[in-house]
């Protein structure tokens, strides 16, 4: 004797994003903290020293924030014009910044006045960085030159004038004190070696370069400019590896996650995209309120700091594991769950004697009625208000089951005004849902068949029937429009696709009859 097989509720695919480990990881941040700066935030840099303060360059100031502070810990205001590119030295003691007035200033993080002032550029300096030996400074300027400065003597060491447009980005190698890379609006990236007079490598990005980034291994170089993010293989002499076009406005900033597995790009289109660095596919996406100019990740991805054109600095902190656990704990405290779980998670010990009890199969209410062939009651239970509102798929599945049993008409018949209007409400809500349409259309037809005699007797039902009619008419119009669009798209696709010849020697003539003339062997078949 087989047991009763319960009604199968089909699982419909959930629309929207798929949950991947990446989405889980990148969604695990708290709501952003927003700080208003005086102007557009052009640069953010994290100190590598323990509390991991970060310097935010905006307008004529550089603010240094602590990891969880909303007020600046320290402020540098000694700029005569817009400041650019506030950068920490790798030991976190010194900070260098360029300025629109062409002067480069070096600060002690604890002091206020500039320690050194490097003068020599003729135009605004947008790029500053320390070399890996900590004694030199790289600067890039709108006067098309990039220079190296000595910190102790505050003298200029070398100057390269190879770029033919503004230099707006650059980075130094962390492994070699002599190597640095600059990107310019002349569409090129240049790799310089301080020991050599000239640049050692040039790559063409074919768009004004806004940001460059070196991988920790320094074998790969990432550049952003225009809508493109390009990856170059330095070890292969600057060969382009991939070109990513995922933004629809200029990409302004690049960053790597702490483990080097994910690449982040921020753009004026207000998005931050996260790529997997193995296959360069977008795995996650953040939306912001305004165009993004700068982006930085704290060590260990503890926080994501984004600076925007409207001067808003947005900081997202990672949720700590305790908070997460707290939330789980809250759920567990519900008494229903406690009772439900009582004794069920008991693991029998070694010498325990297990008495197995036949598992009592639990049937849903509508299944109990279906088992007894109480078809009208089954439909009633399936039409209970919470069920039809929250889980219409159950109601539809029960209707389908009744239809399969050939008793849907009987179940729908014999209802009073209230019941019928309930039913019609459900139909109005769901009949155009493509998941349910095939079942509900038959049910609707049956209802119209059964109750056509009583049309006009109840104002409520009549109103609903009119609504249903309007709904169906509108849906028919939609479908018509959609088909038209589909037809147009088809013609577009057909014209855009290259026409491919199908090798079909026998399609026009019967090769069986013409086998003598058709002696040519199919070369593609021999390969197979």
């Amino acid at each position: 004797m087989a047991s009763f097989k319960s009604t199968k509720i089909p699982i419909y695919p959930k629309l929207g994003e798929k949950v991947t480990p990446d989405t889980l990881y990148w969604k695990n941040y708290k709501a952003p903290v927003q700080i208003k700066e005086f102007g557009a935030v052009t640069s953010i840099d994290f100190s590598s020293l323990a509390p991991h303060n970060y310097a935010v360059t905006a307008s004529t100031r550089i603010h240094i924030y602590g990891p969880f502070s909303t007020e600046p810990v320290k402020t540098f205001t000694r700029f005569k014009d817009t400041a650019y590119s506030g950068k920490f030295r790798s030991d976190g003691q010194l900070l260098v910044a360029g300025c629109e007035d062409s002067v480069v200033r070096l600060f002690d993080v604890s002091g206020k006045v500039a320690l050194r002032v490097f003068k020599g550029h003729t135009k605004g300096v947008h790029v500053t960085d320390f070399t890996s030996d900590c004694y030199h400074i790289l600067t890039g300027s709108d006067d098309y030159t990039c220079r190296l400065w000595d910190i102790p003597n505050s003298t200029e060491l070398t100057s390269y004038k190879e770029h033919t447009d503004y230099i707006r980005c650059g980075t130094t190698s962390k492994l070699n004190r002599d190597i640095f890379i600059t990107g310019s609006y002349d569409h090129t990236l240049r790799v310089f070696d301080a020991r050599v007079e000239k640049s050692v490598m040039t790559m063409d990005h074919s768009q004004p370069v806004e940001s460059v980034l070196l991988y920790p291994s320094e074998g790969l170089l990432v550049s952003a400019g225009g809508r493109y993010v390009k990856v170059w293989d330095l070890l292969k002499g600057g060969q382009p590896l991939v070109s990513l076009k995922n933004h629809h406005k200029t990409v302004t900033c690049l960053s790597l996650s702490s483990n080097g597995q994910r690449l982040l790009s921020a753009s004026l289109d207000r998005h931050v995209k996260i790529y997997n660095t193995t296959n360069y596919k977008v795995v996650h996406n953040f939306d912001y309120a305004a165009s993004i100019l700068s982006l930085a990740l704290a060590p260990d991805d503890e926080s994501i700091v984004v600076g925007m054109t409207n001067g808003v600095l947005s900081i997202k902190h990672r949720k700590s594991p305790e908070e997460k656990r707290e939330m789980v704990g809250k759920q567990r405290m519900q008494p229903v769950y406690r009772i439900f779980v009582k004794g069920r998670n008991y693991v029998p010990k070694k010498d325990d004697f297990l008495v197995s009890k036949p598992v009592k199969s639990h049937l849903a209410k509508y299944d109990k009625q279906l088992k007894k062939f109480n078809i009208s009651k089954a439909l009633d239970t399936a039409l209970e208000s919470w069920r039809r509102n929250r889980k219409p798929e159950i109601t539809v599945a029960v209707m389908k089951e009744l239809d399969r049993r050939g008793t849907l008409k009987n179940a729908l018949a014999g209802r009073d005004e209230q019941n019928l209007s309930q039913l019609l409400n459900f139909l109005i809500g769901n009949v155009v849902d493509p998941r349910f349409t095939p079942v509900l259309v038959t049910a609707t037809e049956m209802i119209l068949d059964i109750y056509q005699a009583v049309v006009g007797q109840s104002s409520v039902v009549d109103r609903q029937l009119v609504r249903l009619q309007e709904l169906v008419e509108r849906e028919v119009d939609y479908q018509q429009d959609l088909l038209e669009v589909l037809g147009m798209l088809d013609t577009l696709f057909a014209t855009s696709l290259p026409r491919k010849e199908v090798p079909c020697p026998g399609s026009s003539r019967p090769n069986g009859l013409a086998e003598g003339s058709l002696g040519a062997p199919g070369p593609q078949l021999q390969a197979a």
Binding site: R405, P505, G512, L518
Partner: protein, 831 residues
């Protein structure tokens, strides 16, 4: 046919076991049922097949217990004989030759030596008129007895075995046919007829379907087509009979049965619910629902503890006291049709085909037993006529048996088609298939063919449908291991909006050919490139298959317009073609051979050939009547070493095919039959226990265990066997029991005799102790005798001197002999 004598066609895959009512023996240990040309004996407790009673030469149509000897059974058959069997040992006791085909048999305790048979009316041999005759079975010592003395009891009866029944103590017999109930009283030699109105109004269909008589009271229960049960009483007169009506069934009542005490009435019908009516309170009833398929027969064991029901899906269910299904005997389900082809499960080597509605059955060809049913549709089956049900229409296994794909469809009248494609993964843990992916509406129209790619690297499924497309389905890989992979559509192909009818993969999976009506297209599944098209009009392609092994360059296609074509794929040209109306092409997976079934003038022919040679290896004309729709090559466990050219094609695998009448047939060679015979002889080991495969397995195991134990305890065994070896005991054990004294008398002695060896040491010690005491006493007494020492010395001394001096030890020995009890020996001698 003389040429083909070494190849025989053999029926396989279970005969109908639900054809007639089964019989439970008096001790409730065995269940007997008619199965084709034999009577099968099953164990009721283990549902295991025990043996069969073979001897009839035609369909067995009835089995009844011999009322005068409960270890014997009568069986009747369409070959015109009634046979008496000893069913415990499967011995044929007697054969009574009646001379007419027999349709059912009835016996009653009161009528000893008489059996009642339903035979065709003598003068209308061909017509559908039957009579109930009484046959007096002659007493004779011969094995075969002619019993031609038939005396008609009732004329014009139904041949259906449930349509007649003996009443209380065999006083009357009730038979129904059409709208008439006839009761014949043996004492009065008079029959009464009661008829009902046809009653077509209000949907009532009054025709009788079955009858059963109460064993203790004068009451007849009849079942009707509209589901009513009528209880007739007071029927020993023409006029004043009465009846009451019970109604629960909504379909026809197929069978009725009273329990032996008459307290309950059991009924069953298409609803597959066993209804249990209480005889005294007729409105009370119990149900045993969801027995799986329509009930065709009900039988009750003579003590009333076991019920068994036969079902329309070739199943017998044994039910314990109306509450619990205790055993299910399942034969090969032969439903209304086989929509899935015959398939061989690569893992279990079982034959897979449609079973119960919505199920696939796995049938072991080797053991001729159903292994299990796989529920494909997973919906509650509503037993109602005229309802559109989901049916499994296609099934396919991948090369390793890890995946099973099934297609189920339901066509509603005037509504759209519902199709589901389901993919099942084999679960090693539960040893069965688990649903992995369900695709609702994979195509917009019927699926015509479905195959897995045989290549081992990729598991790919291809479906072709009448909507003009074929689709390739692939297991979507997931980089994260925790999520289980699921199937998704990979490619949709079509060709000039033609409808694809068949498809086939080449043996290595590198080519896919799809037949679009008259055109065969060849695709590369790796790149989904259309490589070439082949066509041979007129006539749409019906079946396609690639050659294998050395013939893999050939593609064969059978078209509807009597043509079988063979294309060479290297030259893309037609190699040969022959006018044949091929209904089915089947390739042997282990050799180059291809079997083609052709239908010609109402019967089917078989040709076995290699694509490279136009000459057939084997051909058989007029295989069976009707078209052969399904066939399969089943790989053999052991290769046959037949060298004859005609039988060589059967060496590696065996060809099974299904005829239009749903008979599963196969070809068997002489060498194979010899081998089978030899193995069956080996099986006859021990006749004391029912030899089941389980017993063989366990028995062998136990034997080994015993041997091992013996080997371990050998020294012990030797020691304990010592007394048994003595001649006296052997004699004792071999003397006839009636000559010996009573067991209780002998037992004590016997047991003691067995104990001697182990207890002798203690006895000796006891003896020594006793002796010591005695010696002490003697010494004491000597001491006491001291005063009269002189006296004793005077008469004692000469004696002492006269006899040779005995040492103390010798003396002790003698004393021991004196004290030893020899009474048991003497008593033995007395006897």
């Amino acid at each position: 046919m003389v040429v083909h004598a070494e190849i025989r066609m053999v029926h396989r895959g279970g005969s109908k076991i639900n054809f007639r009512e089964p019989v439970i023996t008096h001790d409730s240990r065995f269940l007997l049922c008619a199965a084709g040309e034999s009577v099968n004996v099953y164990s009721t407790s283990t549902e295991e097949y025990v043996h069969d009673l073979q001897g009839h030469t035609d369909l067995v149509t009835g089995v009844v217990l011999n009322p005068s000897n409960h270890l014997q059974v009568y069986s009747c058959s369409a070959d015109g004989t009634v046979r008496l069997w000893d069913f415990t040992d499967a011995i044929l006791i007697k054969t009574f030759i009646i001379g007419y085909p027999i349709y059912s048999i009835y016996v009653s305790e009161k009528h000893g030596g008489v059996v009642f048979l339903v035979v065709p009316m003598a003068n209308y041999k061909s017509s559908e008129l039957f009579q109930l005759v009484a046959v007096h079975l002659p007493h004779s010592g011969d094995q075969e007895v002619e019993a031609r003395e038939l005396s008609a009891v009732l004329c014009d009866v139904s041949h259906h075995p449930g349509a007649a029944s003996f009443g209380r103590e065999g006083e009357y017999i009730a038979a129904v046919k059409g709208l008439q109930l006839e009761v014949f009283f043996f004492k009065k030699q008079k029959s009464y007829r009661f008829s009902l109105k046809s009653g077509m109004k209000k949907g009532a269909k009054n025709a009788f379907t079955c009858v059963s008589c109460h064993p203790k009271e004068d009451c007849i229960a009849t079942g009707h087509e509209d589901g009513k049960i009528r209880m007739w009483r007071n029927f020993n007169q023409k006029k004043e009979y009465t009846y009451s009506t019970l109604h629960w069934h909504h379909g026809a009542v197929n069978t009725l049965c009273f329990t032996p005490e008459g307290t309950n009435l059991l009924s069953g019908g298409i609803e597959s619910v066993l209804v249990h009516w209480h005889y005294t309170q007729e409105n009370q009833k119990d149900f045993l629902p969801r027995l799986g398929a329509a009930i065709t027969h009900i039988a009750v064991s003579p003590d009333g503890s076991l019920f068994c029901t036969s079902h329309s899906d070739n199943k017998i269910t044994i039910i314990q006291s109306c509450v619990k299904v205790s055993a299910v005997i399942q034969g090969l389900v032969k439903g209304d049709g086989v929509w899935t082809n015959l398939i061989i499960d690569p893992r279990s080597k079982a034959l897979v085909l449609n079973g119960k509605p919505g199920h696939l059955q796995f049938y072991s060809l080797h053991h001729d037993k159903q292994l299990y049913n796989l529920d494909i549709v997973q919906q509650e089956y509503i037993h109602e006529e005229g309802l559109d049900q989901f049916e499994v229409v296609k099934a396919a296994f991948d090369a390793r048996g890890d995946w099973l794909a099934t297609v189920e469809e339901r066509r509603k009248k005037g509504a759209e088609l519902e199709i589901n494609l389901k993919l099942w993964a084999y679960d090693e843990l539960t040893q069965s298939f688990v649903l992995n992916t369900t695709v609702t509406a994979p195509h917009e129209d019927r699926i015509t063919a479905m195959f897995f790619s045989p290549s081992p690297e990729t598991t790919m499924l291809v479906t072709t449908s009448l909507d003009g497309h074929f689709k390739a389905w692939l297991l979507a890989d997931h980089s994260d291991a925790n999520a289980e992979g699921f199937w998704a559509c990979d490619f949709v192909g079509g060709y000039h909006l033609l409808k694809p009818g068949c498809c086939s993969f080449s043996a290595d999976g590198s080519l896919l050919s799809v037949g679009f009506q008259e055109v065969v297209t060849v695709w590369s599944p790796a790149s989904w490139e259309l490589l070439t098209t082949l066509s041979q009009p007129p006539g749409a392609i019906r079946d396609l298959c690639f050659g294998r092994l050395s013939c893999s360059k050939y593609l064969l296609g059978a078209s509807t317009k009597n043509q079988l074509c063979c294309w060479n794929l290297l030259t893309c040209s037609l190699e040969w073609s022959t006018p044949m109306d091929v209904s089915l092409l089947q390739t042997d997976p282990l050799s180059e051979n291809i079997a083609a079934f052709c239908s010609q003038s109402g019967s089917s022919d078989l040709f076995v050939f290699k694509p490279s040679e136009p000459r057939p290896l084997y051909s058989q004309k007029a295989l069976c009547t009707g078209k052969v729709q399904h066939a399969v090559f089943a790989p053999r466990d052991q290769m046959l070493e037949s060298c004859e050219e005609r039988t060589q094609w059967l060496n590696r695998s065996q060809l099974y095919f299904l005829t239009q009448h749903m008979d599963l047939l196969t070809f068997s060679t002489k060498t194979e039959e010899d081998r089978l015979l030899a193995s069956s002889k080996q099986l006859m080991v021990d006749d004391s226990v029912a030899v089941t495969p389980f017993y063989l397995l366990l028995g062998k195991h136990r034997g080994q265990q015993l041997e091992k134990q013996e080997a371990l305890t050998n020294p012990m065994a030797e020691r304990t066997q010592l007394p048994q070896g003595s001649i006296a005991i052997k004699e004792l054990l071999h003397t006839p029991a009636h000559v010996l004294p009573s067991a209780s008398f002998l037992c004590a002695m016997f047991v003691r005799s067995l104990l001697i060896s182990s207890s002798s040491a203690r006895e000796e010690k006891e003896h020594e102790e006793g002796e010591m005491e005695r010696e002490k006493e003697e010494e004491d007494s000597e001491g006491e005798a001291d005063p009269r020492l002189g006296e004793s010395a005077t008469w004692g001394h000469p004696e002492e001197f006269g006899a040779p001096a005995l040492t103390k030890a010798q003396e002790r020995e003698l004393r021991k002999v004196r004290t030893f009890d020899h009474s048991w020996l003497s008593s033995l001698l007395d006897c």
